[in-house]
């Protein structure tokens, strides 16, 4: 779906990380966690290509003026890394954005009651909040959030408010455990005897480590990937990743945009993996 969204709020929530709330058509309320948006940062040709962002949250909000009825909204959480995200952070309330979405596949929630293990690195948390919101309805949910420093660990309060038990780790020890979030994840799995289902989003190195943990311990694991996207709808073939059967002789490329961005980690080929 293509729609024009009006910005309601755009604030820096941690140094370099921004949260943008905007109006949305009612159809966005049924966006699956893990689905994403292609955002046209501005109507000029600079930047030309849309930028992909996860859906952080959707819901209804009550406009402040008397007599107004509640309206659907949409939220993104983004990190300023370059031109496009820099320009996004310059936008203000009432500015309009041209959006495509929700695109791609979402997470598979798995059976109710089961322990849900959410693993997020830095801005990788973005699509996991909506997921947590769904999962807490019928399952115990734990979040393992990691980052370089405490500035890279986002929105923990929001997750806690949902009733999610949060574990944090930072590489410099400025928040939670000192080290990688995967270490904290492994301690937890040691403790629970590898129960549950993993949902991960974050830098590629982290996803690879989480996928390896899932595989070794036989815990089902879904990952949400990134890819350099031009179209977001399976047409340009720019965003592909390697499927598990991939080799130079029998290539197996998948579109991150339409086959993903969420994949079962065993469906993918992880660099350096044998067989």
């Amino acid at each position: 779906m293509q729609f024009k969204a009006m910005i309601l709020d755009n604030t820096e929530v941690s140094p370099g990380y921004w949260r943008m709330r905007m109006t949305a058509p009612p159809e966005m309320l049924s966006a699956r966690p893990g689905q994403f948006l292609m955002v046209r940062v501005n109507p000029s040709i600079d930047p030309l290509i849309r930028r992909p962002f996860g859906v952080f949250d959707v819901g209804m909000y009550q406009p402040a003026y008397t007599g107004a009825v509640a309206q659907p909204y949409l939220e993104m959480l983004y990190r300023v890394v370059g031109k496009g995200t820099g320009m996004l952070s310059d936008l203000h309330e009432t500015d309009l954005l041209d959006m495509l979405g929700p695109l791609g596949s979402g997470f598979n929630n798995g059976p109710p009651g089961e322990e849900k293990i959410i693993v997020g690195g830095g801005v990788g948390l973005a699509p996991l909040y909506l997921l947590a919101k769904e999962l807490v309805r019928d399952s115990p949910v734990r979040l393992f959030a990691g980052g370089k420093t405490k500035d890279d660990v986002l929105c923990i309060t929001e997750f806690e408010r949902l009733g999610v038990e949060c574990y944090t780790a930072t590489e410099d020890g400025s928040l939670g455990e000192c080290g990688l979030v995967t270490q904290v994840l492994e301690s937890r799995l040691d403790y629970t005897g590898n129960r549950g289902r993993i949902f991960a989003c974050g830098p590629n190195g982290m996803l690879k480590a989480v996928a390896a943990i899932g595989k070794k311990r036989n815990v089902p694991c879904q990952v949400s990937l990134e890819g350099y996207m031009a179209c977001g709808m399976g047409a340009c073939l720019g965003c592909v990743c390697q499927g598990s059967g991939h080799s130079n002789e029998t290539p197996d490329y998948r579109c991150v945009c339409t086959d993903g961005p969420v994949f079962d980690s065993t469906d993918l080929k992880w660099e350096g993996e044998t067989e």
């Binding site: 779906m1 293509q2 046209r40 040709i45 600079d46 930047p47 030309l48 290509i49 849309r50 041209d98 495509l100 890819g227 350099y228 996207m229 031009a230 179209c231 709808m233 399976g234 047409a235 340009c236 073939l237 720019g238 965003c239 592909v240 990743c241 290539p251 490329y253």
Partner: protein, 304 residues
């Protein structure tokens, strides 16, 4: 009165001159949520080869000022899967499906043309000659008039369907290429494919694209495309399809003035998935506001 928007390319009658470009519109179906296919002239499918092709490693795409580079590496499902999985969709729309294809020898091109010729759902061919000729040391067919003519003739020999040859802009003399293809039996020419370019990631000291170089498309190349369309249209008698950086109805009409009979919209569909239909509608509006009754009257109507 609504202007007559129909144009003809070979045997092909199009409801309007707007076609979506190969590699930017999947196999037609992908964009059907955003574009009413019946409202555009035709769509060209992703470059097809005899055998499936994996394409290049990633990154395959990078944005550049006013454009983008792609090095997809001609990933495609191969003709068997194409016939099985993609062709059935063509039956569901009245819009002509033009099949873009390529090979690494003239024989491969001919074999593709022969097999596609049997498929009634395939309305026309667009031959992509921007591919390395394995027999001639990897020099691309599209930069050598003799090879280009050879490929064209090989396809012409096996089909009566409309045969469009898509020219590469990476040549000293595009007119020479155009004349060679016309002479070898092409019914129309698509002008242009992408310009070869490169992007570098300074911090990593590496080319951005896994393939090192890629094809430049988008608004950045429009002036070069317009010049080449003008040159080619002034030299050949067959219709020219203008391609390169078309983002709006104005752009499309400029290509028609330069001599194009129809246009293709590529990168614009990424920026705005409804672009092709909006451009067709915008052209019609522009013409009717000025009382111009037939879009065909724009072709080559450049003055001065």
């Amino acid at each position: 009165m609504r202007p007559d928007m129909t144009v003809a390319i070979g045997n092909l009658k199009l409801v309007n001159p707007v076609i979506t470009a190969s590699g930017t519109f999947g196999y037609g179906k992908e964009f059907s949520q955003y574009v009413d296919l019946e409202k555009i002239g035709a769509f060209v499918t992703k470059g097809l080869s005899l055998n499936p092709r994996a394409g290049n490693a990633t990154p395959r795409i990078v944005e550049t000022p006013g454009g983008m580079l792609n090095a997809i590496g001609l990933q495609n499902v191969g003709i068997d899967t194409f016939i099985r999985e993609k062709v059935p969709f063509f039956r569901t729309v009245s819009t002509p499906a033009i099949v873009n294809f390529f090979g690494s020898t003239p024989e491969e091109y001919a074999e593709l043309a022969r097999r596609l010729d049997e498929i009634p759902e395939v309305a026309a061919f667009e031959v992509n000659i921007s591919c390395p000729n394995v027999k001639q040391g990897g020099i691309v067919f599209g930069t050598n008039p003799v090879s280009a003519a050879q490929v064209t003739a090989a396809c012409r020999a096996v089909t009566k369907k409309t045969l469009i040859v898509k020219l590469s802009p990476n040549v000293t003399d595009i007119v020479e290429m155009a004349l060679a293809c016309e002479g070898a039996g092409a019914d129309a020419l698509s002008v242009i494919n992408t310009l070869t370019g490169m992007a570098i990631d300074l911090e990593r000291r590496r080319p951005v694209l896994a393939n090192i170089t890629g094809g430049l498309s988008g608004p950045a190349i429009k002036p070069v495309a317009l010049r080449m369309v003008w040159q080619v249209a002034n030299a050949v008698r067959i219709p020219v399809i203008g391609i390169g950086g078309i983002m709006s109805a104005t752009d499309a009409l400029e290509f028609m003035l330069a001599g194009a009979t129809a246009v293709q919209v590529g990168t614009a569909s990424f920026v705005n998935p409804g672009a092709a239909q909006e451009i067709a509608e915008g052209m019609e509006k522009w013409l009717s506001e000025r009382g111009i009754s037939d879009v065909k009257s724009m072709t080559g109507a450049l003055e001065g």
